[in-house]
């Protein structure tokens, strides 16, 4: 019992409230327990975090039972692979790079490219005046509010696509 407590505190204590939350972001995006063993520990659910997602630890390990951890790392940038061969990751890399460009530098061209090149991933939600991005698991992973003028231009750019 003591070892279990120490292990959890030492390894996962830094960000206690994030563990469950982050695990939820990753849930469904990591390989099944039969593929990844808890002893491997560094299972990337994205480039910015490690996850142990519902894996049964082997007997004798000091991580007894099933664990569900995810540790966001420093300078987390959210990139992650997303393919049938590597079903780990929240968002396709190309889409994520466009999201980063738009968020970090306000590059509207990146927004337009998101909408035009990845229409199945990036959509405008006019009611919430935002662009919303669907992740690898088919659920929304990002929501970026747009200023009125940016939204107007994005709508115009989207309409031009259909002309």
């Amino acid at each position: 019992m003591r070892n279990r407590a120490r292990s959890a505190l030492a390894l996962y204590g830094p960000i206690p409230v994030l563990v469950l939350l982050a695990a939820g972001w990753a849930r469904g995006t990591v390989p099944p327990a039969s593929v990844v063993r808890a002893t491997e520990i560094a299972v990337g659910c994205s480039k910015c975090s490690w996850c142990l997602n519902g894996h049964e630890a082997p007997p004798g390990s000091d991580q007894n039972g099933i664990h569900d951890y995810c540790i966001p790392l420093a300078d987390c940038n959210g990139h992650g692979p997303c393919s049938p061969e590597s079903p780990i990751g929240l968002l396709e890399t190309q889409v994520m790079e466009l999201v980063d460009q738009f968020v970090d530098s306000g590059d509207e061209e990146a927004l337009y490219r998101m909408l035009s090149d990845f229409p199945e991933k990036a959509v405008l939600n006019l009611e919430r005046r935002a662009v919303q991005i669907t992740g690898c698991d088919g659920e929304l992973v990002a929501h970026l509010p747009l200023e009125h003028s940016v939204l107007d231009r994005a709508v115009s750019a989207s309409l031009l696509q259909f002309d």
Binding site: M1, R2, N3, R4, A5, R6, A8, L9, A10, Y12, G13, P14, I15, P16, V17, L18, V19, L20, L21, G24, W25, R27, A42, G44, S46, K47, C48, S49, W50, N64, G65, I66, H67, D68, Y69, I71, P72, L73, A74, D75, C76, N77, G78, L90, M96, V99, V103, N125, E127, R128, A130, Q132, G135, E139, L140, V141, A142, H143, L144, P145
Partner: protein, 376 residues
């Protein structure tokens, strides 16, 4: 004359009493009332009294992992959950810290739990338990018999039970209508009524901490809210989704920051907030973590994963100090502040907080601390 907001007495431990300017204060302007409240307690100091410790070093009441949530009922019983270890059921302790029993058993049927992550004691001593893995809430009667089980969204970080049987929860709901909004009102049967709690709702995969909130629901069902990370902003919301007040604090010890990351030898642990409540006299209390001056000593050997170095914190108490701040609810003017050498990690109920501690043998316990105001 206003009623005195302070208990009488003197706390002889280290006390820092500071009055800060308000940087941004919007919402209802009750300047006279605010001034009166502060004048009433302008010399108040914050007292912190250790009440009891929960969690023996070994045996059936020992914590298998870190406590995330604790509650105290009117009978003086404490309830604790440790969700990092699956199949650990809620623990019950008496007011002296003696372990009494567990609630339910491991499993997925009625009255069973996989990873209880939030626990509440209601006014009538019912017990409300959020199970993260099963994505459901279990309500128990005061004698711990099962009342109902309600399906809820997964990944609930904090929750409140309202008088009409509905709930407010903090969770990342990933639908087009709710994504980015931190708070959600759920009907008594778990249906989403509405989402609220952010003027500019942003959700990004790289910013998992941005959605986390701690909150307190007043008798009038208004909601005081603070974010876990990024900024020290105290807000008051109506459950319908209208923001009534916002007080942005930017003291030297808590500057807003863009990204939440783990510490490195070059970067101190980020300050963060861990709870909020409003006391019976109206004062708003906030607790949180600040980097301990010795934080570098807390870092363990680096581990490399996917090209990045991660420094596990080997000792939470070396990494963080705790802090408490008390402010006027009308204008958000803080009038009492105290920094503590040990962490304050969770709110048990208004005025009662918990700090997770590690013994020399590695076992964990929860120190229950009563916070108050003393007027010398």
């Amino acid at each position: 004359m206003m009623p005195c907001a302070c208990s009488r007495g003197r706390d002889v431990s280290t006390i820092a009493l500071l009055v800060f300017p308000v940087v941004v204060a919007t919402g209802t302007d009750s300047a006279l009332e605010a001034t009166a409240r502060i004048t009433q307690c302008k010399d108040c100091t914050i007292t912190a009294t250790s009440v009891v410790s929960l969690g023996p070093a070994d045996g059936p009441g020992a914590f298998a992992s870190r406590p995330y949530s604790a509650a105290l009922d009117a009978r003086g019983r404490y309830y604790v959950v440790t969700p990092e270890t699956v199949n650990e059921t809620p623990l019950v302790f008496n007011s002296n810290g003696t372990f009494l029993r567990r609630l339910g058993r491991a499993g997925e049927g009625p009255g069973e739990y996989r990873a209880p992550s939030v626990i509440l004691a209601t006014r009538d001593d019912s017990i409300v338990i959020v199970d993260d893995r099963l994505a459901r809430i279990t309500v128990l009667s005061p004698d711990y018999s099962l009342v109902r089980t309600i399906p809820v969204p997964p990944n609930i970080t904090s929750a409140a039970y309202l008088q009409d049987g509905s709930f407010i929860v903090n969770a990342p709901i990933r639908t087009s209508a709710s994504i980015g909004l931190p708070l959600h009102r759920l009907s008594p049967d778990g249906r989403l009524i509405n989402s609220f709690g952010a003027h500019t709702a942003v959700a990004l995969p790289r910013e998992v901490a941005r959605i986390v909130r701690w909150f307190f629901v007043t008798d009038e069902e208004k909601v005081w809210v603070v974010p876990y990370a990024h900024e020290y902003a105290v807000e008051l919301w109506e459950t319908g989704g209208t923001r009534l007040k916002r007080f942005l604090r930017t003291p030297d010890w808590y500057r807003p920051y863009a990204r939440y990351g783990t510490p490195t030898p070059e970067r101190a642990p980020a300050p963060r907030l861990l709870g909020i409540w409003q006391d019976s006299l109206g004062y708003v209390w906030v607790i949180g973590h600040l980097p301990d001056p010795r934080w570098r000593e807390a870092l363990g050997s680096p581990i490399t994963a996917e090209g990045q170095r991660y420094f596990p914190i080997r000792d939470q108490q070396l990494a963080y100090d705790g802090f408490v701040e008390v402010m006027d609810p009308d204008r958000g003017i803080p009038f009492a502040y105290r920094r503590l050498p040990q962490t304050l990690d969770l709110v048990v109920r208004p005025g009662i907080v918990g700090g997770v501690r590690e013994r020399a043998d590695g076992s964990l316990y929860l120190e229950i601390i009563r916070l108050g105001l003393a007027n010398p």
